[in-house]
Symmetry: C2
Subunit: 327 residues, 2 copies
């Protein structure tokens, strides 16, 4: 089986590549600007270069690379390796990433949505290790999701499964960027945290957050910091946000019955002060049987989940295609 | 491959058995009381007898039966064929249904949750035919659910996936039988329909439903009938209920991206007058990409979905176990 595999995390700013061992250890890595305003070939060249650099940084040779996995946001066909559309690359249309990178690096290359990459990373080498049924969510500007059931990452048509952020948790809730009301991410992702804090500040409540507010704006990190220092207003915000996060977590636990529910993303760094109201809501809302099975845990791989997961995905695909009877 | 397979639908009142051909046609069937207050062996005997009767009714011999599938509500291990608990059989504990029925009928026997059986039926021979990604819900006293992704029926730990009825669609919504507020089934299953109609009647609105109300109680069927006759109050009820059904349908479409969304169960018999507000809500709430892929259709097999689906499940399990490399 493939021993060394390259994992790539293609963001709007950088393409990060890492050479990853079979047990998920990063042996060498490199970054290149992803040149999001240039045509696709320029970006693909940057990926290739970052990959070569990562292999060199590990003191290895390209010939030792068994496969390449590339994670990016967007809509894509994982079978053909073609990305139809990516929010980070406005000029892209039907870009044959798998084929191009595969030819350049002389190894089979596979693509996958970035939220699913992070889940593959946590499943294989992180907080989901050893589980056969896992849900992972990434709390940030929005909420990304990925589902593993009976040991398999669920894909659906064009890898479209897992769009958890726009499920309604309150029909008359906060307006969402998508135009609807009460979408899960509208109630508890980045903007909801900021709005909740600003609203409480405007009502005149005392808070250490007022300085951040006056300096130009409250951030989720400032709220988390305030809460950690015992600031009552910040704690109230996390309580309110945690309730809504918990509603969606309970919904997913009810429907998908995971053994492990992994929470990642920047917002999750608020830690237990946020997770306590999440867990409280799940206890009161999830069906007892599913709830008893599901452990809610924090992601472990941080911002390496993308490259480690992309490598795990490529490894998985190689294994699948070497089986006599793949399904 | 198995040509003739027995399918059993074990309800609280009757055990219904049918001999089903490979193309889903019922060749013969029979019913026996399911004896829900007696110990398990009595019920298993009734299943065996109903199976023998169904084979005889088809003019066939037991030796021609390749497998038996048994659907029932409850918590069970589909691998071992043991049912741990069933709401219909209060005396049951760890009943080895598969082994017992298999030995009695001299054919491999497989068990499955009844909501998943109905989905297997619709997937193989009904409204989901030809799709690889399907969600089915059954609207009745509660809401049952089953998910098919990438051609596979999702199971999860002990077949526990698909508990859709208790996902929250309104945090301060109607109280649910489970103790929480705003569960999907609390907002739009049987009791919600009755309560909505009764509330509107109490406010004095004119309606043909008043007679049913005075005769002892409104039923969902009476509401559907009134709506079909143009009764404004009944139409308002279906509109309100359809909105909440639509919220949950949109949530499932967002998360699971099915090509086919199959709606079954008694409540669904209200037809287009109910489905129109459902579709309207989905159009405004589901993510455009997933929505474009998903066709919302009515179940086709009616109350035969259980026996036909149980047979399809048994057929599927035989095929899986005859593969050199089952996963």
């Amino acid at each position: 089986m493939a021993d060394l595999v390259l994992g790539v995390d293609l963001g709007g700013t950088n393409a990060r590549a890492a050479l990853v061992s079979a047990d998920g250890v990063i042996l060498g890595q490199a970054r290149r600007p992803s040149l999001q305003d240039q045509p696709a070939p320029a970006t693909l060249d940057q990926i290739t270069s970052a990959c070569r650099d990562a292999v060199a940084a590990a003191g290895k040779d390209l010939a030792s690379v068994a496969a390449v996995g590339i994670g990016l946001p967007g809509i894509m066909d994982v079978e053909t390796g073609v990305c139809f559309w990516s929010p980070n690359f406005p000029h892209w249309k039907d870009v044959p990433i798998g084929e191009t990178i595969g030819a350049a690096l002389k190894a089979p290359a596979f693509i996958l949505n970035d939220a699913k990459c992070a889940a593959m990373g946590e499943l294989t080498h992180g907080a989901g290790r050893g589980s056969r049924n896992m849900v992972m969510i990434t709390l940030g500007t929005g909420i990304g999701g990925a589902f593993v059931v009976d040991g398999r990452l669920l894909m659906g048509p064009n890898g479209s499964i897992g769009e958890v952020g726009h499920h309604t948790v309150h029909p008359q809730g906060r307006r969402c960027g998508c135009g609807n009301y009460g979408c899960w991410e509208a109630m508890c992702a980045r903007d909801a945290i900021i709005e909740s804090a600003e609203r409480k500040l405007q009502s005149g409540a005392p808070s250490t957050l007022r300085r951040a507010h006056e300096r130009g704006g409250v951030t989720p990190a400032a709220v988390a910091e305030g809460a950690a220092g015992g600031d009552a207003l910040c704690l109230e915000v996390l309580d309110e946000i945690g309730f809504y996060i918990g509603l969606g977590v309970a919904n997913l636990i009810n429907m998908l019955s995971p053994e492990r529910f992994v929470v990642g993303g920047g917002i999750a760094q608020a830690g237990d002060l946020l997770m306590e109201p999440v867990r409280r809501t799940v206890r009161s809302r999830a069906v007892p049987l599913q709830q008893a099975t599901a452990a809610i845990v924090m992601a472990e791989l941080g911002d390496s989940a993308g490259v480690v997961g992309a490598a795990a995905w490529a490894r998985d695909r190689c294994r699948d295609s070497s089986q006599p009877n793949p399904r």
